[in-house]
């Protein structure tokens, strides 16, 4: 049986490991490589690494850093931040990423996802979708939460699937860093509307948040950052708890 993936997210800015609240109030929480080495040692299911400043600073993810991270990770590695062109994707894959996560560019260029997917295969293209709930409506944001988009939520995720994304990582900006639990309602809506796997992100703060998301939605993976940075909980603790709740996870 396919296991629910428990994925630590590593966000960084100028080579510093950071974490914010609702994509704001960023604080430095450690060194990137140290975190990567620990997660590899703990044999986590997968890693997501994102440069949160790349798009808005018009910079690129540092390829040497990706290479260094890849040297320490014998599990799947997703890298995101400021990806705009086929060349960017190619460079990241060559540096050692297994998948790339694309957000802002999916709005700027309709055919980018399609072209990238055709070129490198659906399996390495992850569409990242950030949103806020405003007046009970789901509003999508690009540029690390700075620019709102008009496209309807379900239309957008269906479009990403049709264009060739292999997975979607869905992040609630409202809940990000708050540790108040995942946005079950939106995750449930999303996972019922596409065939590709959904990675839930934003809000995990206690063990029960993970089981609530799995039991009430069809998400395939649960990403989190704050709970691992700011509490003693490890990805393994989460899996032991999920296992006790009869949810299939990989426990090594």
């Amino acid at each position: 049986m396919l296991k629910i993936r428990i994925i630590p997210t590593i966000l960084f800015n100028n080579f510093k490991l950071v974490k914010g609240i609702s994509f704001d109030s960023w604080r430095t929480v450690g060194s990137i490589m140290q975190a990567v080495k620990i997660y590899n040692l703990r044999e986590v299911d997968e890693l997501i690494v994102m440069d949160i400043s790349a798009t808005n600073n018009k910079s690129k993810v540092d390829l040497d850093l990706v290479n260094e991270i890849a040297n320490e990770t014998f599990m799947p590695l997703t890298v995101g931040g400021g990806i705009k062109s086929i060349e960017d994707v190619s460079n990241l894959l060559e540096a050692g990423a297994d998948k790339v996560s694309i957000n802002t560019s999916t709005f700027n260029n309709d055919f980018f996802v399609k072209e990238a997917s055709k070129m490198f295969g659906r399996q390495c293209i992850v569409a990242s979708v950030d949103y806020k709930i405003i007046d009970k409506e789901i509003v999508i944001f690009s540029n690390s939460g700075k620019v709102s988009q008009k496209v309807k939520f379900i239309d957008h995720i269906k479009k990403m699937e049709a264009l060739g994304a292999g997975e979607i990582i869905l992040t609630s900006i409202n809940l990000d860093g708050t540790m108040k639990g995942y946005d079950i309602e939106t995750l449930s809506k999303a996972s019922a509307n596409v065939e590709i796997p959904i990675i839930a992100s934003g809000g995990a703060g206690k063990l029960k948040d993970f089981t609530d998301a799995v039991k009430n939605t069809d998400v395939s993976a649960l990403a989190a950052a704050s709970i691992y940075h700011f509490t003693n909980t490890t990805p393994r603790d989460v899996k032991i708890y999920l296992n006790s709740e009869k949810i299939p996870v990989r426990i090594n």
Binding site: F74, P76, G96, G121, A192, P197
Partner: protein, 210 residues
Amino acid sequence: MNNKNIAVINLNISNLGSITRALKKLNYKSIVTNEIKDLNNSSHIIFPGVGSFDKGVEKLKKHNLYDNLFNLIEIKKKPFLGICLGMQLLGSVGHENNKEEKGLDILKGNIEKIEKKNDKIKIPHVGWNEVNQIKKDKIFKNIKNNTDFYFIHSYHLKLVNKDYVISYTNHGNNFVSCVRKKNIYGVQFHPEKSLNNGLHLINNFLKINA
């Protein structure tokens, strides 16, 4: 450093960094190549691959490997490990991207899309899943039955001759996750991305002598 010569086939369609990093970690020298002379000189051939079947066939032909690879592994019996697409390309016929393409036909059977049995079955099949060994084989030496490996694929090889099946994995239906025909191994999962158990499996393969 171990003195075996491992050749990793490069069709310029996928990230080969993961497999070469894994080989380096295991202390093996490897050469990334699409030259037949390098494959000839190698002790073991690893054919990793992600991407689509039609593109894979096109590239095999372009690099003059389509017939040569058949010779090398089916006739000359060089130890071979196909990973994901690298295993599927040994099959008979694929229909990805609505294009019918003939594979190497070493492992008889077509490449079919994973069936979506219900809403819980997501496609692509992405993540860690159990590999159920139905027979003992040295490729799984010291790897427990039903160990999880990392998968990422939408198609699978529907093998005709079930005698070649080493393991099955379930995603809605059972599909072949490891196959062996004499010197030729294929795995649908990615050992190079499956942490220590994956590295262990690659090491087991490299200990097999021609």
